[in-house]
């Protein structure tokens, strides 16, 4: 899990677009995708219990099945072992209510789709994280990673 980015997103189109964006800047950190809030919660709880390496960054959608992004965020911030994990919200909603609730819970970034698909990495680079990049070469658009 080290150096891993945890993407919690139920819409496969959005997963595809985020993966494309990361691929475009040749980011080689492994990406793990979770399709609902409960799955992500179980995964993080397991890692914390086993003292296993945690993901270095969480990209979190707000509208998720079972457990919403806000509920998951509240849980993360309340769990001592993972409370400090950097979390970036990645959402389609520009609603003030959503934005305020996320910041109240101590989110690090609030990025709005679709613009965020292109700018996500530019913005997240300000975080001092163990980023790793593939050696430059011809980009292979459309290919899964």
């Amino acid at each position: 899990m080290q150096n891993q980015i945890l993407l919690i997103e139920d819409d496969p189109d959005h997963v595809l677009l985020v993966e494309r964006a990361l691929r475009k800047v040749r980011l080689s950190n492994p990406i793990r995708v979770m399709k609902d809030g409960e799955e992500a919660q179980a995964c993080l709880a397991g890692l914390a219990r086993d003292s296993a390496p945690l993901p270095m960054l969480i990209l979190l959608d707000l509208k998720l099945p079972r457990l919403s992004g806000i509920e998951l965020l509240r849980w993360i911030r309340s769990e001592e072992a993972i409370a400090k994990l950097p979390v970036a919200i990645l959402t389609s909603s520009k609603e003030n209510e959503d934005l305020h609730r996320a910041f109240d819970l101590g989110v690090d970034f609030y990025l709005i789709k679709p613009a965020a698909f292109d700018t996500v990495l530019d913005l997240l680079m300000v975080l001092d994280l163990p980023w790793s990049f593939a050696p430059s070469g011809k980009e292979m658009p459309g290919e899964g990673s």
């Binding site: 520009k94 609603e95 003030n96």
Partner: protein, 494 residues
């Protein structure tokens, strides 16, 4: 017969006449009466004067009788105050006896008069009591210390539905509604113990026919020296009033119930609106976001490889999704005006206008528009964010709906009118025909094609709804080719 009933002249006249008559009789019948009892008839005259006229006339009669006797009957006759020893003594004795008789007679008279007055007063007071008791509009009873009725009036019998004799067989305890009895008995005990002088309450009685009557009760205790004698109880029938009160209470209850129902309905509607907007913000926008992202990815990654026509189609997809994006955002902004609670406070229109102008400066510059603000603008009661949205929409409107050949000129000014302020945003644009003046404030109402004047059709709906949320309203004065003058009314007091 009392002295007070006769005139003064009558009383003294009777005294003089009775003495005169006694003198005449004595003169005429002197030989038969004899010398030895010269005063007998005169005593009678003094007595009549005292009886008829009181002390004053009796004294006058005594003096007249004394002088008359001296003159006519005592030796030497026909001379005043020239008497022998024996006659003087007799006259003096007569004088003393007559005066004593007068005094006793007058005292007797006064005592009798007083007694008569007192008797009359008692009669009047008894009558007064009986009238009050029987003719009063309220029920009255005398009640024994143990609670039995001693005396009741007709009105009380009517209120309780009993005959007089029937009611006298009852006590207040036997006809009081059970729930109200403990308070009554407690008050009875306290009054008997001397801890309370009076007791008043609203209570219920059972009528003879079993129905319940509401009464306004007032009780006082009458004491003999050393012991309670009886209660005086006054009872008014307040059943009608109680029934009205009950009706009002039921009405209020049902009104409260209806208000609660309405509030609940509104709460539900509000919750539905929230769910609806949440769904637009998240669920509806998710596929839109995919379309925007994927179309852009297609353009970015394969644009160069595409034929020109394919590129054009892709561009149109991107534009359409962008428009839909704007519309959903504006719709959410509009619904925000229904959802959110606005705290109204005094706001300076001038600072709001300045902030808006700073925010849309790039848009204004791009259109080469001029905006003139007629300062100063007053303060109004409003909400900063909502006001900014309204004014931004009106200025953007003025800048947008202009002939391509014309440079937009916007004038912002305020008009004071007593308690209200009217803010004008005037433009030199294409104008609006009168038949559309109302329609333009509706949601998604558009007068022009998207290609001509792009937009979501929600801007003016936000202006109207926003003004309403601030307690005012908005309108327009315009005709085609003459520009438009939009106005918003604000109040200046909360």
């Amino acid at each position: 017969m009392t002295a007070a009933r006769h005139s003064r002249a009558g009383r003294y006249g009777v005294a003089i006449i009775s003495v005169g008559c006694a003198m005449l009789l004595k003169l005429d019948f002197g030989p038969w009466l004899g010398e030895e009892s010269p005063f007998l008839l005169l005593f009678a005259a003094v007595t009549i004067a005292a009886w008829y006229g009181g002390l004053g006339p009796a004294v006058l009669a005594t003096l007249l009788a004394t002088l008359g006797t001296d003159y006519f009957f005592l030796h030497p006759v026909h001379r005043f105050l020239d008497l022998d020893h024996s006659s003087s003594v007799r006259l003096l004795i007569f004088l003393i006896e007559a005066l004593t008789l007068s005094a006793f007679s007058a005292a007797l008279q006064r005592a009798r008069e007083r007694a008569e007055i007192e008797a009359a007063e008692q009669r009047r007071s008894r009558e007064l009591f009986r009238n009050t008791f029987e003719l009063a509009g309220v029920g009255i009873a005398r009640v024994a210390p143990d609670g039995h009725f001693l005396q009741v009036n007709q009105r009380l019998c009517d209120i309780l539905g009993y005959q007089n004799e029937e009611l006298l067989l009852h006590s207040f305890q036997s006809i009081t509604y059970p729930e109200d009895l403990p308070l009554d008995i407690d008050a009875q005990q306290r009054m008997l113990a001397g801890k309370a002088k009076r007791y008043a309450a609203e209570k219920r009685y059972f009528r003879k026919d079993g129905t319940v009557v509401w009464a306004d009760l007032a009780v006082s205790l009458v004491r003999e020296p050393g012991r309670p004698d009886y209660f005086i109880t006054v009872i008014a029938d307040i059943t009608d009033r109680k029934q009205s009160e009950e009706k009002i209470r039921l009405l209020n209850e049902s009104l409260e119930h209806r208000v609660e129902e309405r509030t609940e309905e509104l709460r539900e509607a509000n919750a539905e609106l929230r769910a609806f907007t949440y769904s637009i913000a998240h669920d509806l926008r998710a596929p839109l976001t995919s379309m925007q992202g994927l179309a852009q990815a297609l353009m970015d990654d394969y644009g160069e490889a595409m034929e020109p026509m394919a590129r054009e189609y892709t561009k149109r997809i991107i534009r359409a999704t962008a428009r839909m994006d704007t519309m959903t955002q504006d719709l959410l902004g509009y619904s925000q005006l229904y959802r959110s609670e606005l705290r109204l406070e005094p706001v300076s229109l001038e600072s709001v206008v300045d902030e808006v102008l700073a925010g849309i400066a790039p848009n204004i510059a791009a259109r080469r528009a001029q905006v003139r603000v007629e300062r100063p603008l007053p303060a109004v009661i409003g909400h900063v964010a909502t006001l900014q949205q309204i004014i931004a929409n009106l200025i953007s409107n003025g800048v947008k709906f202009v002939d391509s050949a014309t440079c937009p000129v916007i004038v912002i000014r305020a008009e004071n009118g007593g308690d209200a302020v009217r803010l004008w945003v005037e433009d030199n644009g294409i104008g609006i025909a009168p038949e559309y003046h109302e329609r333009i404030f509706g949601v998604f109402e558009r007068l022009h094609g998207v290609a001509e004047y792009p937009g979501s059709g929600i801007g003016l709906a936000i202006v109207r709804r926003g003004a309403e949320r601030l307690g005012g309203t908005a309108g327009v004065i315009s005709s085609p080719g003459q520009g438009s003058r939009f106005w918003i009314d604000f109040s200046i007091h909360s």
